[in-house]
Amino acid sequence: MSPTTSAPAIGVVSKKTGVRWIPVIGLEVHCQLKTETKLFCSCRYEFGASPNTLTCPVCTAQPGALPVLNREALALAVRVAGALGADVAARTKFDRKNYFYCDLPKGYQISQYDQPFCTGGGVTLASGKRVRLVRIHLEEDAGKAIHDRGDMTLVDLNRAGVPLIESVTHADMQTSDEAYEYLTALKEILQYVGASDCDMEKGSLRCDVNVSVHPEGEGWRTKVELKNLNSFKNVKDAIEHEIERQIEAYESGDKSKFPVQETRLYDATTQTTRTMRSKEDAHDYRYFPEPDLVPFHLDPAFVEKQRSMLPELPAARRARYQSQFGLSAYDAGVLTSSRALADFFETTVKLSGNPKESANWIANGVLANLSDPAITAKSVDELPFRAHDLAELIELVANQTIHNNVGRTVLRGMFESGKSPRQIVKEQGLEQVSDEGQLESWCREALVGKDKVIADVKAGKTKAVAALMGPVMKASKGSANPQKVQEILLRIIQTEL
């Protein structure tokens, strides 16, 4: 369990006692799989759909209804296993996990107990540290219980039966940052594979955390489970709070305050946790093999086929962008932050033949516009233009048809109208003007009353001419070729004035 690198000292040193406390952190992450239908019935699922409109006899547990497994859910799950370097089991089966709650229509969840479809695998962090997975299993989601409306709890079963993969890590993490990084990497991979949206706000990714602390050099102590974590930031904050709480509890010396094995709920507003249930009222889930389903064999050809459908994963792409395109680690990171963005970038490179400029235009121009509230498109998938158009814009700037700054205006126009860059340049007359006569007349206008600049230039400070560039560009609405403008200004000052 020791970290693979002899990294800087880990843990938290107590100000009170000077003891170095080592946190031990493990994560359980549930992700909704992006299938058309639910895991065991043919209902669609859509976040935010009107309550109880996406249900059928199976997912509402009508007496007599039976489950049949969705082939695509199994395929996607196996693809995820491939992306995480996990071992796919030759044989897998489903079990019933029995408990009573209003969002669980059958009174049991169909899950996997002792024969999950995959074991092992993991995620490598930037430090080189590997967070290992114990297992990943497939299971169905529960419905949604709404507690904050009126004097009843309201139950919506639309989500009941949506396929989930639950991944469980070893307790390999020691800081909240590592947990945060693991989650980010996991999310990225699942999104790349096309297996899940991993959108915590829409509940398509949910995370539970196990935390314990022990003094350096000693054995592990009691772990506490944290639930109700609604964002990656919550996860990070909750872990930090819990580490602090446990250290304080131990250092109080009062055994009655020592952490006990329990589940605690995180409250993001107060940034505290409170007991939800203790080990004494822990569940007896009475797992047993689901008699309504049959076993499944994941034969090597099927597993191989799923693996062959895997895209190049983000870490590999980042490395390649640096070596092949000479991009900075930062830019490579930005461009691979989603598969759609990376794919868009690579197409742009292919069409423009210009990796650096493609990177610039996407990392700065495109992303800046996407984050502008005035722009409708919010993500790469929603762009009103294609990579082909961006490549054209890059070409127009490179061959000096338009100036770089004008390029930004054109890009904005592309976001607003979806028109091609050429069309925008033409319609708005943005083509760079290099006509000497026209340029000269703009320059002469700009020189009127600028005696100080003229004197400076004449005295050899040619850089002072920069002060005149603005007015010229303004008069030309940005279309003047700035290099030529500078030449003309200098020539007039030095030879005529």
């Binding site: 006899p57 509402t60 547990a61 009508q62 007496p63 007599g64 209804a65 039976l66 489950p67 049949v68 497994l69 019933r96 029995n98 009573f100 709650y101 209003c102 229509p105 059958k106 009174g107 049991y108 709890t153 139950v155 007896d284 009475r286 797992y287 047993f288 008699p291 309504d292 389903l293 049959v294």
Partner: protein, 496 residues
Amino acid sequence: MSGFADYPKLDATSLADAIVSKRTSASAVVEAALARIAALDPRLSAFHTVLGDAARARARSLDEALAKGEPTGRLHGVPFALKSNMCVEGVETNCGSKILAGYRPPYTAPFVQRLLDEGAVLVGMTHMDEFAMGSSGENSAYAAARNPWDLARTPGGSSSGSCAAVAARFVPFSLGSDTGGSVRQPAALAGIVGFKPTYGRITRYGLVAFGSSLDQVSPFTRSSRDMELVMSVISGADEHDSTCLDLAPLEPERSDSVRGLRLGVPKEYFASGLDADVRREVEAAIGKLVELGATTVPIELPHTEYAIPTYYVVATAEASSNLARYDGIRYGPRKPGDGSLQGMIAATREAGFGPEVKRRILLGTYVLSSGYYDAWYVRALKVRRLIRNDFDRAFESVDLVVCPTSPTAAFKIGEKADDPVAMYLSDVMTVPTSLAGLPAVSVPCGFVSLEGKRLPVGLQIIGPSLADARVLRAARVFESATKHQAAIYSLEGAGA
């Protein structure tokens, strides 16, 4: 008003033939069925719901279709009944339980739809032991159906109403469900044919679950040829049930002989506990089969004595989970309890389930709970395998196994009600086959006399996996060589 006069004498095959050849009409047949039910069911308690208007309307439209020369189904105009654990959209399916009082499913079971598609007419839903847990029908929250041969006695269970409805000639066929013998045992006790197919032969979609790995939809008929007909309609692949075999509907065998069939006679089924009169009738029936050209081979099924505990562990474990959905949220009456969610669930279940269901939920919950799972549940699954192996070994040297269906003739209502262990033992002859998932039929094979009443006895014929057609052929051959089937009791004169 009372419709087709010959109605009680005919089986489904003959009725469909009489209607299609226009010797009578679907309306006259349905009218006859409804009249007979109205006159006699108050004493039988077979039905909890009679769908008079719907059945009449459907018969009319079938008659119109026939008049227009439209193609007819194989069960055109034939009335039938369903056990109340089968889903028909909009028709109360209460499973004999208060917890499902008034429940009207939003969908129709495919096996029911197949009957309707062949022109059969649903006339009603029948009483049953609550959630099919029982062997006498007495565990119904509504009414315990009676045996037409002696109204003081049970028609067997748990498919008590569906059995009584066929035995009393209310309908020529009905559907029950057999988890540990719930169709074969009543068929034997009421003198009709009851068949549990190979597990997976008929979809379970729309059959309310009791023990998922054991439950099979199982028909009651008056004749073996009707059984072959009904099976050929309702069996076959179904995409809604993962455990339904990917097979074509059952095709009856053409042969009408048992010549050359090797019949295994398991000594364990003729041991103590078997009523002497029942034994005599069953042995005579086996003698008859030998007379018809079959041979007998003594066999051993050594794990038979473990079948009852194995069955009760497996079935109750599955049931404890299957019945968790009755929580007062999506269907059924709700009891508030202490006002909390969990309190409401507990109060609803406490008020909604009868004692036998609670007993089995407790037993099933116990054998699955932490600390007991391996000792009880896993061990039972292993013994289940041994029981199946017994049959597999036997079928290496025999074609069919013959034995009694029930160790006794029909017992009296109330006789075993307070002794769950004694009640469980009445399934001793049917449970092993259920555990093994094998096809087995009970066919009338004689009578015993008890307290001045003639009571039927059933012969059980068991086949290897998927040999359903062979089992039914043997039943048909036996039946046509004997007169037990024709022995109509007179309900009008029976009991009071």
